[in-house]
């Protein structure tokens, strides 16, 4: 009788070559999946655009004259979204510290902020800041619309992100705070130097999501004459009765922007996950 080991060696291929074959098969399957995915998108989106253009209702000539002007609004959209999200983070940190405060008044103020903002529509807040606020604070009338719009967006997102930051701060292990306290740090130092830096890492993926929402919600400041993407599309479109063309461009640009920033966010998240933590 043949010893077991020899028998197997005779029947089976080399282990290394099996591993290699599995790896090849997997990478082929994965490539096929991705190619099919891209092909499906090209067919679907291309087909849709073709139907739109070939239908005769879509004025391609108009688009070729005006697309540059409309696209120029995308820069303002991105600017508004970035400045707003940065300012929103500031509001959110303050809000979160307030919501975690043992000081009743501070807690009350922070909770009121979150409650009012979350309890009213963003569109109301944007229009309010532009039309109603100057009636109480006359100086607000002199502030450029874009700054008022950024303030409204940041104030609103800050309230939603307050809860994100609160959760982030609470997710930092209690031992971190204890270690900092045991070293003699003051309360403010513990928060600033130990807890917040860790909390921010925890909430960065969530901030990315908020930023992508912000890109789209920033369209609301078109209502207060900020000449961003939607405002340009809407203005050019209505004046020439070509809203199908201009709004399609605007929608496509918003979509592209969100795709680009989502990819960017994916990479950031992966880097954070693999980082020095």
């Amino acid at each position: 009788m043949i010893p077991r080991g020899t028998q197997h060696a005779a029947l089976l291929p080399e282990p290394a070559s099996v591993v290699e074959q599995i790896r090849l098969a997997r990478s082929r399957a994965s490539l096929r999946f991705r190619l099919t995915f891209v092909a499906a998108w090209v067919v679907l989106v291309g087909g849709f655009v073709y139907l739109l253009v070939s239908g005769g209702k879509f004025d391609v000539g108009f688009v070729s004259t005006w697309w540059r002007f409309i696209l120029g609004g995308a820069g303002i959209t991105i600017l508004v979204a970035i400045v707003s999200i940065v300012l929103a983070v500031v509001f959110a940190v303050l809000g979160a510290l307030g919501r975690l405060s043992k000081h009743a008044t501070v807690y009350a103020v922070a909770t009121l902020y979150v409650s009012i903002v979350r309890g009213t529509p963003l569109i109301v807040q944007v229009i309010f800041v532009y039309l109603a606020l100057p009636q109480i604070i006359p100086e607000a009338a002199k502030v450029p619309a874009i700054e008022l719009g950024i303030f409204a967006l940041a104030f609103n997102y800050g309230a939603y992100m307050t809860e994100i930051f609160r959760a982030g701060i609470q997710a930092v292990p209690g031992g971190q705070r204890e270690a900092a306290e045991a070293l003699g740090m003051r309360e403010g130092q513990v928060m600033r130097r130990v807890v917040l830096p860790q909390a921010i890492r925890i909430v960065i993926p969530a901030i990315g999501n908020e930023f992508i929402s912000m890109l789209k919600d920033s369209a609301l400041v078109s209502l207060i004459t900020v000449q961003e993407l939607l405002w340009r599309a809407n203005t050019v479109g209505s004046e020439n009765f070509k809203t199908l063309e201009t709004l399609s461009i605007a929608a496509a640009v918003y979509w592209l922007l969100t795709i680009i920033f989502s990819l960017f966010q994916d990479r950031l998240e992966r880097r954070l996950a693999a980082g020095d933590r």
Binding site: K102, P173, G175, Q176, E178, A179, A180, E181, A182, L183, G184, M185, R186, E187, Q189, R193, V194, P197, Q198, R201, D276, R277
Partner: protein
Amino acid sequence: MSVALGEVVVHGSGIHKFFGQNHVLRGVDLDVRQHETVVIIGRSGSGKTTLLRCLNFLEEPSLGSVTIGDINVDADPLRTRSRQHREKIRQLRMRAGMVFQEFNLFPHMTVLQNCIEAPVHVRGVPRAAAIETAERFLNKVHLSEKRDEYPARLSGGQKQRAAIARALCMEPQVLLFDEPTSALDPELIGEVVVVMEELAHEGSTMIVVSHEMQFAREAADRVVYVEEGLILEEGTPEQILDDPQRDETRQFLRRLLLR
């Protein structure tokens, strides 16, 4: 014991601690002298960790007082938000270095940054001087080559040694160890114990809550047995570990050996 004991550095008196209705510490007095190493033993739930945490007010005692060096703080659980009281606690903590079971290194800082963080930002030591001190203590815990690594890249034993260096960098009058080897894989315990023994032999003042009987034998000047929130028995390692007078101590030691 290689260094003669000095005067009393840590003086805890009449320490009580309630967690709700649960009376965890029931009037503990503990004096520790300069250069002395005290090992606190006892079963889990006996209150030994709470006692240690009361000494630097990570737990506010319900009653009693703690003196470390020139700072005395009376328990004042109802006025914990008073500024003066908090400042005294902070002063107390600056005099006591703490080493935790779970290391609690700051993950967003390198080992060196962990070590200089409090000296620079709490004690106001110039950065260059703090780095010099940190390098000296990192060398002492045999971790010089890891000074620029982040904690995530260290083994458990290395993390704990870094945490010991961090505590040493504040040049405290006493080191408090809360089960420093309990979270370590067995093969990593040795390197931490060696460092602790070296510190003890060099005359550091240490209070150590631990189940490492070998460490107690090697390094302790005094072993304290705690049960149900009271010190039941204390003495030299030989007295307590080899010839305990109380049944409770004897039972505890027997169970520990059977593990």
